[in-house]
Amino acid sequence: MAPILDIQNLRKSYGQTEILKDINVAIEPGDFLVLVGPSGCGKSTLLNCIAGLEPITAGRLTIAGKDMTEVSPKDRDIAMVFQSYALYPTMTVAKNITFGMKVRGVDQATQDAKLKEVSELLQISQLLNRKPGQLSGGQRQRVAMGRALVRDPALFLFDEPLSNLDAKLRVEMRTEIKKLHQTLNASIVYVTHDQIEAMTLATKIVVMKGGVIQQIGTPAEIYNTPANLFVADFMGSPAMNLIPARVHRDGHGHRIEITRARSEPLVLADNRPLDLPQDVIIGLRPEDIAEAGYRSGEAVQQAPCMVDMVEPAGADTYVVSELGGKPVTARLHAETSAMAGQELDLAFDLGKASYFAPETGERLN
């Protein structure tokens, strides 16, 4: 199938400073692409380039097979939901939603039908005669989405749409957006700085930093095999433990030696067929470190560790211990008896361990 959005060698600069460097991304119809990264990484600029709100300096951009590089936003067959919702303050909700159709000269009957359909879908029928100023944050969010949905575009663009909502509402709306995506089977490009949003919503994630794409992949790929230290650290909460280690080869594979300030070095074995250099940074997700006895498997190894801190988080309890000079977080079951200042046997599962080169930060396995 032809990609619904195809970006080739896109560059964007303001004067001397290059904001986006050689961006290549493509998505299929029905894909939910999330652009994620810290602020200033260029993700919003990229979205604006896709929308045509910012001209691009070099490269090519097609939407639904048509070259849109030089086409103005209104002719790109896209709809966009903004961080501040950008609802027209003097128009009622109904007028906000139908404004685009009105501008395009869609006849009144179609407008009414579409408005009805969308407002029912988003459950905002009772708000149609209000002005944006009289709506709550969540309601505005819905109206903004309604304005996009009613257009029935080839591509939806979302620019951090949930960042102005409180935590509870954010989770609700997240689910709602996911549901909409599934019902409508729409193609979406979605910008966020929240990696949980990225993980929960995306079918495809693009992690960006400093105007450069760090990794493109499914949520699972990004989570399990981060391409570099940045992605590893950025995606996941609590973040992946990144611990400096020294590698010794033996007959079966590698022994990973991690120094500890207050006790003997920790030595773990990774028997996967790898080819690691002497100095590495090992990446372990908190859930890959458990209380001894709660995790079993071929790659699981136990070792006593000094507990520095215990953080109960409801469903789980996080335990922090020092490894390789870094505070390392382990995810334990809620009923653990671990106490700060005491030793505890931890089980390390190296089956999913990632290795990175300390100098370049690139993934080694």
Binding site: N48, A51, G52, L53, S72, P73, K74, I78, A79, M80, F82, Q83, S84, A86, L87, Y88, P89, T90, M91, F99, G100, V103, R104, R147, R151
Partner: protein, 302 residues
């Protein structure tokens, strides 16, 4: 809520002495405000009382005293009988000229200022800031400087001595301030609004017309008040660029007030002055409330 209760609770514990002090302070505050109000009103009071006196009373009595006998003759004369040159038609015909100049002048300079401000605030392009600076500097050019070249220009354009000529002059020299007002107001409106509308398919003018203009009432009020006052009260342009038949009311007022021979009819002068100023006064009184509101809405936020 909690803050207020806290404060009022503290106030409640104050002693009677403190409360008396507060009342005294409050009374002092009102006294100062009223004193200043009297100061501001003084010239208007003098004008009003004088316009209601007979010439005889003006000659004999104190200028600042209330009229002993109220007469509206001076007002009648000022309106339709006072002489300006050989015509003795009062201010009436000239008022209409002023309206013909001020209304299109205000409308044009406001509309163009709004469009300019909209561009400067929302459609920035390279060099726009320099342009804006050049425009602002234009606000400060003393009008005496431009009289003669402007006269030549109006002659070249073929609208010397006409009302369109005066409208052009007032519009051009009003643009600096109107653009400043609108630009400062529109920069407070998020750029995303324009972006959303662009994606909705609206173009430059559609966005302006459907989205920005409906938002602009407060700043339109400020601009209209400002421009109307400027244009209505203008004398220099009015006297230089008009000819017989297009002279605005300020020129007629000047002819009535500044005639240097013969018996000075101060009551007529004053009545004429108030009549000439009535439209601007009315605008301030009626729209004054929106004026502050409009200023609050963003035009002054630097």
């Amino acid at each position: 809520m909690t803050d207020t209760t806290y404060v009022s609770a503290r106030a409640g514990t104050r002693s009677t002495g403190q409360r008396l002090g507060r009342i005294a302070l409050r009374a002092g505050l009102y006294a100062v405000l009223i004193l200043f109000a009297l100061w501001y009103l003084m010239p208007l009071f003098v004008m009003l009382t004088t316009s209601l006196k007979s010439l005889e009373e003006i000659r004999t009595g104190s200028l600042v005293a209330l009229p002993r006998e109220i007469t509206f003759d001076a007002w009648k004369t000022a309106w339709s009988g006072a002489c300006s040159g050989i015509k003795c038609e009062g201010l009436r015909p000239y008022l209409w000229n002023s309206v013909l100049i001020a209304v299109p002048g205000v409308a044009l300079s406001t509309l163009i200022g709004a469009l300019n401000g909209y561009v400067f605030a929302q459609w920035n392009f390279r060099g726009a800031n320099l342009l804006f600076a050049l425009l602002l500097f234009g606000c400060f050019i003393p009008f005496q400087v431009v009289l003669l070249p402007m006269a030549r220009m109006l002659g070249i354009l073929g609208i010397a001595g006409t009302i369109p000529g005066l409208i052009l002059v007032h519009t051009v020299y009003g643009l600096g301030f109107t653009t400043l007002f609108f630009r400062n107001y529109y920069v407070t409106i998020p750029h995303e609004l324009v972006r959303a509308a662009k994606i909705d398919g609206a173009g430059f003018f559609r966005i302006f017309w459907s989205i920005f203009l409906p938002l602009s009432l407060p700043i339109i009020v400020v601009t209209v008040i400002w421009q109307f006052t400027q244009i209505w009260n203008d004398f220099l342009f009015g006297v230089s660029f008009s000819q017989s038949g297009t002279q605005p009311v300020t020129v007629a007022l000047n002819n009535i007030v500044n005639s240097t021979t013969g018996v000075k009819e101060y009551n007529v002068d004053m009545a004429a002055a108030i009549l000439a100023a009535l439209p601007t006064l009315l605008v301030y009184v009626v729209a004054g409330k929106y004026f502050i509101r409009g200023l609050t809405a963003g035009s002054v936020k630097g």
